[in-house]
């Protein structure tokens, strides 16, 4: 009798202790803006399951997380938190330069079955030589966010805006009907988001899909830059850095903004008193029947190799990213579009959203997902982006005869900086 009991009892004790070992501790995560806020939103559900794991999410801002992660890796992993947020288009910089800085996730529980829950194209940048370094988190299908009241006042129907020329025509009407507003804003100070969105829509980018050559001066990219300058010169898009865009939204100065879907959360949480006044439509194209889908942003979570609490950290990644519960919580709270295939099918997606005037924004945005052409960031992303931004500024100031000359020069500079060939 006693012996019979001993076995199972010991097993229970063992299980309990190992479970307690894995399911307690403190972990820290670095993230930014709404991404950080959305991780915080998952904590309630996570701590119901794992009450003894204390998660601290630190919002350092996008640039700082990138810089600090690189610096910490250069310092041999010293000072890294347990989990870092990594933007997909910059991800390859990390695995290429510092493979030893990040944990091989297949060793902590990222099985091929779990990997299969994500689309292939989201994973390619996150895995190197068969080692998965990060789990896909969200995508950034591009949408135009617009003020219903401003458009209505000008008699503009967003459904009629199919091309960028339509957008320009509509913009003139909207701005005439709503004095003191601008049609849209772009960060011409420290970002390249409009170029990256429209060129991606047109299947162009800094680098070819295989990452082996420079394609920034291909015709589709040239057409993109020309169109952006046309809109800027017409006064339709004015320059605003990230915090100025948010402030303009709140102050009612912007009639529309174009960004990845995650901007939904920024608008909703920063301008709660504008509920019902915002709507969403698909980004226009360069040509009448051209493609109207692109991606901007989208991130992943990676585990630091120096983490002393890998199991607890993995539990969090598993909950937040690989379960519908975690991913849909982030979608609901801050508009992060799940990479998890099953989460995109959640009933919530089809629901009309009260903030957005009853529009079912998520089904409208997510319908573009299958049409997005993946754009490849490479280990040289930050060099190429800095060169593009400098070229753009010079081009706007009249430093080049035309967009082709500007991007030819950018291509040449990127080639010098990276050693990659320019596609002819």
């Amino acid at each position: 009798m006693r012996f019979k009991l001993a076995g199972p009892a010991a097993a229970v004790v063992l299980l309990a202790s190992s479970a307690a070992f894995a399911e307690s501790g403190q972990i820290t995560i670095w993230s930014w803006n709404v991404a950080a806020s959305s991780l915080k939103a998952t904590l309630e559900g996570f701590n119901k399951k794992y009450p003894d794991i204390k998660v601290t999410v630190e919002d350092l801002g996008n640039d700082q997380v990138y810089d600090k992660t690189l610096a910490a890796c250069a310092a041999g992993g010293e000072g890294l938190p347990d989990i870092v947020s990594v933007e997909n288009f910059e991800a390859e910089v990390f695995w290429n330069r510092f493979p030893e800085c990040f944990a091989d996730l297949s060793e902590v529980g990222y099985t091929p079955e779990i990997q299969a829950l994500f689309p292939e194209f989201k994973r390619t940048e996150l895995e190197l030589n068969g080692v998965p370094y990060a789990v896909p988190w969200d995508s950034g299908p591009v949408a135009v966010f617009y003020r219903r009241d401003f458009y209505e006042k000008a008699g503009v129907d967003p459904a009629s805006i199919k091309t960028w020329d339509d957008f320009i025509a509509a913009g003139k009407k909207v701005m005439a009907a709503n004095p003191g507003t601008v049609m849209a804003q772009a960060d011409f100070n420290g970002d390249s988001e409009w170029f990256r969105m429209i060129s991606n829509e047109q299947s162009c980018g800094y680098f070819s899909t295989d990452g082996q050559s420079i394609t920034i001066n291909q015709p589709a990219c040239v057409a993109t830059l020309e169109k952006i300058k046309e809109m800027k010169d017409a006064g339709l898009i004015t320059a605003a850095i990230w915090d100025e865009k948010i402030q303009s939204n709140t102050a009612g100065k912007a009639a529309s903004q174009m960004y990845g879907a995650w901007f939904e959360g920024s608008i909703r949480s920063n301008s709660p008193n504008l509920a019902g006044k915002w709507g969403v439509f698909r980004m226009p194209s360069l040509t009448a029947d051209g493609p109207r889908a692109a991606n901007l942003g989208g991130s992943s979570l990676a585990l630091s190799a120096a983490s002393e609490n890998k199991e607890a950290a993995w539990k969090f990644i598993e909950y937040a990213l690989t379960t519908n519960e975690g991913q849909v919580t982030m979608l609901k709270a801050f508009g992060l579009v799940p990479s998890l295939l099953s989460a995109v099918q959640d009933p919530f997606v089809k629901e009309p959203q009260p903030y957005w005037g009853g529009q079912a924004v998520w089904s409208d945005i997510l319908v573009t997902l299958p049409q997005i052409v993946p754009s490849r960031g490479t280990a040289f992303q930050s060099d190429a982006d800095a060169i593009y931004q400098a070229t753009q500024t010079k081009y706007f100031a009249g430093g080049y005869p035309n967009a082709k000359a500007a991007l030819d020069d950018a291509a040449k500079q990127i080639a010098t900086a990276t050693g990659l060939p320019v596609t002819q």
Binding site: N189, G190, Q389
Partner: protein, 286 residues
């Protein structure tokens, strides 16, 4: 005598230890790193990866150009302003002197981050007080962050505000060390105040002005925080990227330590060359 010498080394030792460990050794090490391609794993020796790239890199010339613009425009304006401040503060006719001194010297103690934040708000394109004031007198607002020239002007305004008082302090100390009897003779000869300034004060102040210029040159060569925080990492599109910022970007954003080291050595060379040039020009006219 010997024991006294031993004492001297003992007094120097801790200081020199820190110098060798945290300065000399890294500086030598960085020269070696500048000859390595640090974008491959592991690092490999390469002459062309950094030094070859540097002199053909438009980003380097852009940063050099921006730095020189600040050097050529901001430094003389600031030194002139500081001289005016110092001379006027030194005037015996001035009432409420402590108040004026406070106004001009206070920025000297304000941290870079604190004042960067204030300037960013004050110059915000849509909501900044400066643009509100500009539009209230009927002019059109300036987009301070998105026009390269305006952004450069903003950086220059900010640095001038922060550092003019600092130089004025040094110049004021110099003015006060000029003996009064030098002026007395001039006053008897009925030389105007302005003539006095031009022919007596300025020549006597020259070595001090020269010292201020050297300090400002060194400061400009490593200018980092203002364009980093106020104009958003040297924006727009590198319009305010200085050599110090390029170094940061190559070192900590592209994580290319080799290239960053090559840039660092170039900055050092330029700083030393410009300082020497200034000292030579200053010395010649003596």
């Amino acid at each position: 005598m010997l024991s006294r010498n031993r004492a001297a080394y003992a007094f120097l030792a801790p200081y020199l230890l820190i110098f060798v460990t945290f300065w000399l050794w890294p500086i030598i090490n960085s020269l070696l790193i500048s000859f390595q391609n640090t974008r491959v794993n592991p690092w490999r020796f390469s002459l062309s990866a950094n030094w070859g790239r540097l002199f053909g890199d438009p980003a380097f010339y852009n940063a050099l150009y921006n730095t020189l613009i600040i050097l050529v425009i901001q430094v003389p304006v600031m030194i002139a302003l500081a001289t005016v401040m110092a001379v006027l503060l030194d005037s015996p006719l001035l009432k409420a002197r402590p108040l004026y001194r406070f106004a001009f010297f206070a920025p000297v103690v304000v941290g870079e981050v604190a004042y960067a934040a204030v300037f960013r708000l004050m110059f915000s394109a849509d909501f900044g007080i400066i643009n509100k004031l500009i539009t209230s007198v009927g002019l059109s607002p300036v987009s301070w962050f998105d026009n390269a020239n305006a952004a450069m002007a903003l950086v220059i305004i900010a640095i001038t505000w922060r550092w003019a008082g600092y130089n004025a302090i040094i110049l004021l100390a110099g003015l006060q060390s000029i003996p009064d009897d030098v002026y007395e003779a001039a006053t008897l000869d009925r030389v105007s105040k302005f003539q006095q300034f031009l022919h007596i004060t300025l020549p006597l102040l020259k070595p001090i002005i020269s010292f201020c210029v050297v300090l400002s040159v060194i400061g400009t060569m490593q200018l980092f925080t203002e364009p980093f925080l106020i104009t958003n990492r040297g924006g727009p599109g590198g319009g305010t990227e200085t050599l110090g910022l390029l170094l940061y970007r190559q070192g900590f954003t592209s994580l290319n330590f080799g290239y960053a080291s090559a840039i660092a050595y170039t900055i050092a060379g330029l700083a030393v060359a410009i300082s020497l040039l200034n000292l030579m020009l200053g010395g010649e006219k003596k």
